[in-house]
Symmetry: C2
Subunit: 332 residues, 2 copies
């Protein structure tokens, strides 16, 4: 029998420690070795920061690496565990799902010790890292196919106290958007597992489109703001500048009713930008059936008053593919 998943070092050790989370060998892959950094200043908040759950969302791993550079110098208390890349095979393949078993890591929590590689990663994280934290920032993003404003998101939570605490934590990122996101596909998500254990879990959907220097600076500022709110770092939180504005708004959205879909196959032309306010009938985009002539273009219009929080990059899309996501100010 192969060696069980384990950490190569003691997370309880005071100071800066670096080592690996070894995910056990299984029938479908060799053991994986995930770098882990522990910044332990003793008493205080216990935070776990993870990136690279999906292999096509690289903002998280990069922001996590940046934290490792500056956080040790300014951390005043508490414990921060950083795992820049949760799913190395998916990142290497630039693929949302793990190429080895085709699974989405964020749908298999708490995982299985004797499962396929994605399930074994989830199991190792759930058993060996999650118990060490009361707050989790799981750094996601929207990938290259969408324009999406930097946002801190949570799904709705049944427990009203935990919901309120989680929204406060998400708002502390001071990103352009805080989003309460009703998502139909919740089983097996990392946040559901953590929230069922009473933990505060925020999932910054740190943008989309090009992963560039300016976007990364906003994301990093968001995480720093959250660390200040937690009391781990001293400093003054401030809204980062996004499109020449410093502001943050809290929205809610339902994936089922607030997603606009392509009416046909063809080239989607975006006609709005993220954070645009739209009223019923406003133009969101145009669908150009490719083999027919331009007169056959189909206009996609807003069904009601809302905010655009994500819009598909111009691309060839299939019928019924999502092309825009809308939201409304959160009704508290």
């Amino acid at each position: 029998m192969s060696e069980a998943s384990h950490l190569t070092f003691d997370l309880d050790k005071i100071g800066i420690s670096k080592g690996h989370l070894i995910v056990s060998k299984g029938i479908d892959s060799e053991a994986l070795s995930l770098p882990v950094i522990s910044l332990n200043k003793g008493e205080g908040p216990r935070l776990l920061i993870t990136g690279g759950c999906h292999g096509d969302e690289l903002e998280g791993p990069i922001v996590a690496q940046r934290l490792v550079e500056w956080l040790p110098e300014v951390q005043t208390c508490g414990r921060v565990i950083i795992v820049p890349v949760l799913n190395p095979p998916a990142v290497q393949a630039s693929s949302r799902n793990t190429p080895i078993d085709g699974l989405n890591l964020n749908r298999v929590f708490p995982g299985r010790a004797d499962g396929s590689v994605t399930e074994r990663i989830a199991d190792a994280v759930s058993r060996l890292l999650l118990p060490m934290a009361d707050t989790i920032f799981d750094l996601h993003s929207f990938g290259a196919l969408w324009e999406f404003a930097p946002a801190a998101t949570t799904h709705p939570i049944a427990d009203p106290d935990l919901m309120a605490k989680t929204i406060r934590m998400a708002e502390a990122f001071k990103l352009p958007m805080t989003l309460v996101w009703e998502h139909p596909e919740t089983p097996g998500m990392f946040d559901v597992l953590a929230q069922n254990q009473g933990k505060v879990f925020v999932c910054p959907e740190l943008g989309g489109g090009t992963v560039g220097a300016e976007a990364l600076a906003i994301y990093e500022a968001g995480v720093r703001n959250a660390l200040i709110a937690l009391g781990i770092v001293k400093g003054k939180a401030d809204y980062p500048t996004f499109r020449q504005q410093k502001s943050g708004h809290t929205f809610e959205t339902r994936r089922s009713s607030d997603e606009l879909k392509s009416p046909a196959r063809g080239i989607f032309e975006p006609r709005c930008s993220v954070l645009d306010k739209v009223n019923q009938g406003d133009l969101i985009g145009i669908l150009h059936p490719m083999e027919s002539l331009p007169a056959d273009a189909v206009q996609i219009r807003a069904p009601g008053t809302s905010i655009v929080y994500a819009v598909r990059s111009g691309a060839y899309v299939d019928v019924n593919e999502g092309v825009a996501l809308l939201a409304r100010p959160l009704d508290r």
Copy 2:
């Protein structure tokens, strides 16, 4: 024997005509049917505008469709032929190359009437459309993996008169960058074929990253500026606003010496933005080997004074993959 490639309508007809370029059936595919729009106001410049040569560069097809909407109303003279999508199978697959035969359409010109599907497209365009034009705008872009400022580009041309005319035409787009691009891989390119026939060929590399509403507006303004310079449209050309600036600069670059490559496999973190001026030793990006710890990150620095004209989006890259492209002001 199948029907030869042909146009379904007469391009010489005065007024607005719409029809198709039929690319003949071959051993590897059925016939293709490419929508073509002819805007013929008689005497004046003869312009061919093409998009969708590469299936993962959707700015061109979208801007071409927009032209079809407004150009008929404002065109004062000349003939404009618009083909929004040159390579429908590649666009449907969101793939640079044609998925059927694996070929890059922009490497097989002038094509072959009895070749594979990509060669048959090139042949039909070369024989049936190219002779109708003295000026060609082939609307490309840099794709989702790069940040790239909207630019009008040309490769170096041996004939100094045609070179000067082509640079003037490229500069007339008034995009943030005009670029004379020494490219090692010229055989079979559409522009080489057209230039060898004495035609002015400009290849707007209309950006990169997310294909969003703001970027598309800049691209459309660039093409409108060029139409004004040609005298096809009346109006005042103006630099579009890009990153809060209105400006245009003309650069030259050598693909061989001005491309910075990844020193190892890992996650590339961009640390500069397009149009940044850099001096020798300035930080361009960081390469994070993924399985080792952050201390092993490798800094990628500028080899000399230059302008960043393209930078890779944060992503997992292989050793020796391009991560940044540099340029210098054009020495005329």
